[in-house]
Point group: C2
Chain length 96, copies 2
């Protein structure tokens, strides 16, 4: 699941929420890993990896995560986009 | 295509190459878009979007891009990983 976003100039509470969501995601069934980067221009990409598409869908519906999504849409993000993807192939120097 | 990487502390020529590769990618058949973020901790994620998997595979084989990949593996990146994915669903506030 690829989540791209542009943060508002002022996004109070965003950093804490990000850390909390990562901690919470790690506890969900089917969680495989997460990579998250935010640049100086406030653009960010977070990719979370899940065993199955159902696991990813369930994570979207976790109560605390739903609240964070609502707050993100209403306050934190200027733009955002979610893409649900299936990994078909991968290679490189490390496991995700 | 998701490209995750960690840059070496010194990566001379990297920024110029990144710009050039983005410019070159935009000229390839099937190119849909690209999102690229590098954080202060040198972790980066670049996601490029292509019409077909073949278009993405062809981009990997473009000469100047092959040279950049080699230089990346040998000099610029401490870690890197490529994931070829199929976008199955997407939503949000903007087109990628």
């Amino acid at each position: 699941m690829i989540f791209s976003s542009v943060l508002a100039e002022h996004a109070p509470g965003y950093a804490e929420m990000g850390e909390r969501m990562e901690e919470l995601a790690r506890q969900q069934p089917g969680f495989l890993g997460v990579e998250s980067v935010r640049g100086a221009d406030r653009h960010g990409i977070t990719v979370s990896y899940w065993e199955t598409r159902q696991d990813a869908a369930r994570w979207k519906q976790v109560g605390e995560h739903l609240a964070a999504q609502a707050k993100g849409r209403e306050e934190w993000y200027v733009e955002w986009r979610v893409r649900v993807c299936r990994v078909e192939e991968e290679w490189g120097t490390r496991a995700g």
